[in-house]
Amino acid sequence: MNCRSVQQSLSAYIDQELSGREMLLIRSHVLECEQCSAEEEEIRRLKGLLTNAPMVEPPDGFEQRLKESLDGGRPLNRGRSYGLPFLGVMALASGVLTLLLLHAAGPRPEPQASNPPTPPAVKADVNFGVRADQASVMSHDPLSGGSVVFATSYERR
């Protein structure tokens, strides 16, 4: 084996992802070639830096924020601006959501003469007749206080 083909296989050799025969051929070459031996050593150490890198701990409040996002209490993508294309998509989504909310609200009640009842708090349920696996709870609707459910077809990109 020449140095070029050995060096192209060194990562896989170090990861023990080659066939037995290839492993033996590379081992034999590396034992005799100073340049390839140095290259092998450096890749091993680079791999070691990653393998031994400290575990990254989530920040404070991460679990709570994750729970809230899965409950639909907070939208994704904090602090980002997407510009006009995203606004266009959001305008369309708002239209779909408005239709869903109006459908769920039903016909307006007749006005009453005295003390109309306070509407009950809307629970954060995934509803509106949309199957749970076709819905995504995106946020809270500021008008009803309920979950904003975005129903669409999820074609895999």
């Binding site: 890749i43 393998t51 701990e57 920040p59 997407y82 510009g83 349920d125 696996d133 999820y154």
Partner: protein
């Protein structure tokens, strides 16, 4: 803290929800660790984790429980990450092409320069490594992280990335070269000391 997701109206969905909540509880920290290594900062890492779990929740009926949940979740996460990076790069390209009437770009361009969180990374070597990771081609970065940080075998990585073992091998080889070149160019002293 027990993990509870908003109730569904359908009673048949309850067992799935409970199972999903348990999986989230078990894997959320590990998922965050991968997301942080992929994105390089805690804000994007949290967004990626949330997006991935939401997608996993949406398609939970497709999950095969005989396989490790993390493998399935990691596939969702790595796909989402690569898609997000591509979208961001497209947006940046579009902003350069379509300036507004005043000559200023029409869109606000997200800053895709990594900013390692000083609180997250305790030493300059890890800072340098993380900066170098984020500078890599996303597919190469994903393959190298799955191999060296998550300890996955090439066939596992191929399964997660939905590609061949040969492609994984190439991505890891080229990825480690990119990583090393970046460290040598930008942090020669730190990298030199680390590999002595």
């Amino acid at each position: 803290m027990p993990f509870v997701i908003a109730k569904s109206a359908s009673p048949t969905f309850a067992p799935e929800r409970t199972a999903f909540e348990a999986l989230v509880q078990k894997t959320q920290k590990q998922a965050y660790g991968l997301a942080f290594r992929l994105t390089g900062n805690s804000v994007e890492a949290e967004d990626l984790v949330q997006e991935s779990f939401l997608r996993a929740y949406r398609f939970f009926h497709r999950y095969d429980p005989t396989l490790p949940f993390t493998s399935w979740l990691y596939r969702i996460m790595t796909n989402a990450h690569v898609d997000n990076v591509r979208k961001r790069n497209r947006l940046k390209t579009t902003s350069l092409d379509q300036a507004g009437v005043d000559g200023v770009s029409a869109w606000e361009v997200p800053d895709n320069k990594p900013s390692p969180d000083r609180g997250m990374l305790d030493n300059s070597l890890d800072d340098a490594m993380q900066t170098a990771l984020v500078a890599m081609t996303p597919e190469f970065r994903t393959a190298v992280i799955l191999a060296d940080v998550e300890g996955m075998a090439y066939d596992e990585i191929a399964e997660v990335m939905k590609t061949s073992v040969g492609t994984v091998r190439s991505r890891i080889h080229r990825g480690r070269k990119q990583l090393r070149n970046h460290l040598v160019r930008h942090n020669p002293a730190i990298y030199g000391d680390a590999v002595k």
